[in-house]
């Protein structure tokens, strides 16, 4: 039966998608973390059931992302506990689960690499180096040296719906539906797996809810697995992971470790940084290059540093692939640098905001690539807004040790500040071509269609696109339609990574509309216009460093977090959060405000509540049952202010900024309240309490 009845695929949750005669899929997975796969012992399968192994794949057994190939099904080696080695497909899901339970995966097990604290060069999937000036010399003449070792743990996306895909036949094409940030990647992966031209595959992104960057490449793997089973069984197929299985095997946030040394000159300004950082990217590490590139570029945060030595490693371990979560490596580095900035300010007896202001990246200072910074960030206005909103100066003077020394009653309080920048949305790893396209068509009835494979991600973003297009062409927004993004109909817009939609895609829509406007009264309708963007000065890497201007149009943001330590358990609880950002052009203030507020809530949840402990056994039932999101009742009031800079053509991406600066501000606040340094995220309440009691 043709699957063309799935016209509403874009709005139906995958778990509710039903097509008569549809088959289901379960994955048979490796029970061990590392070894040689000897075979899969299948039980007797009934008439309507079949198994798909790597040897059955007609095309390429891989999903290739950012230059890295991840097998769709393990064929000779297994690289992590939970790696798929076979697929079982059939009409009854429970029967499939029972068949899976009776399937044996035969692996000659080997000792796994699970720790990335010490690693060999074999485990390094990507390395990046940044060098500016002469850091050795700067350290040798430094007035002060500030050091720290930092660790940022892993978290789970907890999407609204677990990962999955539907694959079915739409006349002569294969239709794939899945919640993805990158429909073209799904198409190319599926086509490659089936060994067919990409034009044979139509991908319709289904609803995914907030993706938090957890759906960049993994949906392509699931889609290809679903497509394989559909192709080989000649039936429509739906493959959705149960939530606990998704928790165990789908990518989580990459773990991070870094050692920092900062040299301060005679005026206590930052004169040099030496950073060695490592990211645990799990098995295969598809985002390894991007992660380590961004972590390195972010190592100095928002500060100017004339002498820089950064070494970054993306380290493979035998765990499920780890990657992005609300950003790709920037937040982790920014946490470390903001803790260093706090220490540097304290060591030099300076006000924490003043120290930051003195050391801020200014127009003309060298960025980590050596390219001079072309902007003037409105730091003074932004920091003043934060200070005012939060009453930072007064509270800082009276909280913490001052609180306790003065014999104040009640819980110990702290307040902390941190700043961050969000890059423009282009990839910086060097392996992804940063080229995006959008097409618009104004028809004879003066209705405008926008075609893009970008996934809006929310009704608000969709509305922003339609309204800005309508405004450009003096149309009513109801006459502007965003055609459901589908490959085959829409030009490639690259992966829809957090905030990119508002920046790159929105400006492409406007440029295409500007072309239509110019041609409108000179040419007959319909008029089709396409706009393509290529990133100016893209980042490229050599063994010695990077070239390019990734900081162009980077947005500045800051956060203040106020908290108190529970009077009796001593666990830190946020009592107020304030965010200020300089967004460039603001398409829709209400939408921006809400995004920032929601991001701040998620960032707080990450830094104080959510933890995934590394375990040799992988993420078991205990980890799943114990994973804690921040209770809504624990969310403090959140204040937000925008620092507007007059008319700008370009809007800046700002949605990641809370993730970049709230955790650092939280840790700085705990340090003030508790009088102890916090260099690990998430901040463990009980550990803080233990350390306080010990002092």
């Amino acid at each position: 039966m043709p699957a063309s009845k799935l016209a509403d695929a874009a709005t139906t949750p995958l778990s509710e998608l039903r097509v008569p005669g549809m088959l289901h899929v379960v994955a048979v997975r490796s029970p061990v973390s590392r070894g040689t796969l000897r075979g899969v012992e299948l039980p007797r399968l009934g008439k309507d059931y079949r198994a798909v192994l790597a040897s059955d794949i007609p095309g390429r057994n891989e999903v290739s992302s950012f230059g890295v190939a991840v097998p769709l099904l393990a064929s000779d080696r297994v690289r992590y506990r939970g790696e798929a080695v076979a697929l079982l497909v059939g009409p009854d899901l429970e029967a499939l689960e029972e068949l899976r339970d009776r399937t044996n995966v035969l692996v000659d097990e080997e000792a796994p690499f699970l720790d990335f604290g010490r690693f060999s060069s074999d485990q390094v999937l990507a390395r990046r180096t940044l060098k500016l000036g002469d850091s050795e010399l700067a350290f040798s003449v430094a007035s002060r040296i500030v050091e720290g070792d930092f660790e940022v743990g892993s978290q789970e996306h907890w999407y609204a719906e677990p990962q999955g895909a539907f694959a079915g036949f739409d006349y002569d094409k294969l239709l794939v539906v899945c919640g993805t940030q990158w429909p073209y990647h799904v198409r190319d992966t599926v086509a490659g797996a089936l060994g067919v031209p990409p034009a044979e595959i139509i991908v319709r992104p289904g609803p995914a809810g907030p993706h938090l960057d957890g759906r960049i490449w993994y949906p392509s793997l699931m889609a290809a697995q679903a497509a394989l089973t559909a192709w080989l069984s000649r039936r429509n197929v739906r493959f959705v992971l149960p939530r606990e299985e998704d928790f165990r095997v789908s990518p989580k946030r990459a773990r991070y470790r870094a050692s920092y040394r900062a040299a301060l000159d005679g005026e206590s300004n930052l004169s040099a940084l030496e950073v060695s950082l490592a990211l645990n990217v799990g098995a295969y590490g598809p985002l390894a290059e991007e992660l380590v590139a961004r972590a390195c570029l972010g190592a100095q945060g928002v500060y100017a540093c004339p002498n820089l030595s950064v070494k970054g490693y993306a380290v493979s371990t035998d765990t499920p692939p780890l990657g992005s979560l609300a950003g790709i490596g920037d937040a982790q580095s920014n946490f470390a640098m903001e803790r260093i900035a706090e220490r540097a300010a304290a060591a030099s007896g300076a006000d924490p905001v003043d120290w930051r202001a003195r050391n801020l990246l200014r127009k003309g200072s060298a960025t980590p690539t050596g390219t001079p910074f072309g902007q003037t960030w409105p730091f003074d206005a932004l920091s003043a807004a934060l200070r005012r909103m939060s009453d930072f100066d007064r509270k800082r003077a009276s909280y913490g040790l001052a609180d306790r020394a003065g014999g104040a009653e009640g819980p110990w309080r702290g307040i902390g500040i941190a700043f961050a920048r969000q890059l423009s949305g282009a990839f910086v790893g060097g392996s992804v071509p940063n080229s995006y396209s959008v097409e618009v068509e104004l028809d004879k009835e003066l209705r405008l269609a926008i075609r893009s494979s970008a996934v809006p991600g929310s009704a608000s973003v969709e509305r922003i696109w339609r309204e800005s297009a309508a405004a450009m062409l003096a149309l009513d927004p109801s006459d502007v339609a965003l055609e459901p993004p589908a490959t085959g109909e829409a030009p490639n817009s690259g992966p829809s990574v957090l905030s990119r939609n508002v920046t790159i895609v929105a400006s492409l829509i406007e440029r295409a509309c500007a072309t239509v406007k110019r041609r409108r009264f000179r040419e007959p309708l319909p008029i089709v216009a396409r706009s393509t963007a290529r990133v100016a000065n893209p980042v490229s890497w050599t063994a010695e460093g990077a070239e390019g201007a990734p900081f162009e149009d980077a947005a500045l943001g800051g956060a203040v977090v106020e908290l108190e330590l529970d009077a009796w358990s001593l666990e830190p609880r946020a009592t107020g959060v304030w965010i200020a950002v300089a967004p460039g052009r603001l398409h829709d203030e209400r939408h921006a405000r809400r995004s920032l507020e929601n991001a701040a809530v998620l960032a707080l949840s990450q830094c104080a509540w959510e933890r995934l402990d590394p375990s040799p056994e992988g993420l078991g039932v205990d980890a799943y049952a114990g994973y804690r999101l921040m209770p809504l009742t624990a969310v403090p009031p959140i204040g937000i202010e925008f620092i507007l800079e007059g008319k700008r053509v370009q809007a800046r991406g700002i949605g990641e900024l809370p993730f970049d600066c709230v955790p650092a501000a939280f840790a700085n606040a705990v340090a003030l309240a508790a009088g102890i340094g916090i260099d690990t995220l998430p901040v463990e309440g009980e550990l803080v309490a233990e350390r306080i009691r010990a002092t």
Binding site: E94, E98, A567, S569, P631, E686
Partner: protein, 281 residues
Amino acid sequence: MRVSEVFAPTSLIETLGLLRKHEDALVWAGGTEILRLRVGRRPELPPTIVSLDKVPELRAIGRSDRALDLGAMVSLAQLAALGEGAVPEALAEAAAGVGTEGLRNLATLGGNLLGRERFGDLFAALACLDAIAEFRGASGSRWMAVGRLAGRDRKPLVPTGEILVRVRVPFDPWDLSLVRKIGYPLWPAADTGVFTCLARAAKGSLYEFRAALGGPLFLRDRETETGLIGKRLPLQRREIEAARQSWRARFEEDGVGAPWIERFLAAVDESFDALRAGVAR
């Protein structure tokens, strides 16, 4: 997959008969802990289940001047909603704090009281309130103090072969009634529990003091509590410190780990602060 056989008796007598006949039967009250901890589409369950939801005697709520009787199958939501004055505040507060609303409408008093792996959120409050529980078995009915449902090892001691019928909670006036959730509030885990402290003053002295914490273990020490009785209020620093040391020593003796001792003492400090502040509720 093995399929369980489910019995749904409609009287206590029938229930007891079934339990005699099927000694290994799983007794299903609200069932929330049973299903919550068995993640997956096909929860593995024993072959025989006895469901209590159709036994009317277990749903009764009764009241006298001196006590409140709550059937074992009364839901936590019902308990929390009984209204001010109709149920001791500590108990209502403990019940209202369990999980989320969708859970409280299913979870029962009996299920909460008789957890096998850990003490439910209501346990500490019921123990401090001197609640007693009626069990019925082959040899008839007996009452026992809720506190005796914790063994010497401080772990749950759930009677077998008997059905919890009801819990009787005395109405006593308390000057201090404090309930404190420890750890993550939304569901139980190895580091979560509920602390309860009740205190009463008379003629300027501490007349009654009870402090207990229910979680993976049950922490309470009557001797330490007794040591505080009769002391003039406000309690002196050294008296509080002596009590803290006494609790610490008793719990350490019983092998309670440091984290739980610290949590108990932190909650007790809050109670003493509240007493000092003269906080009645």
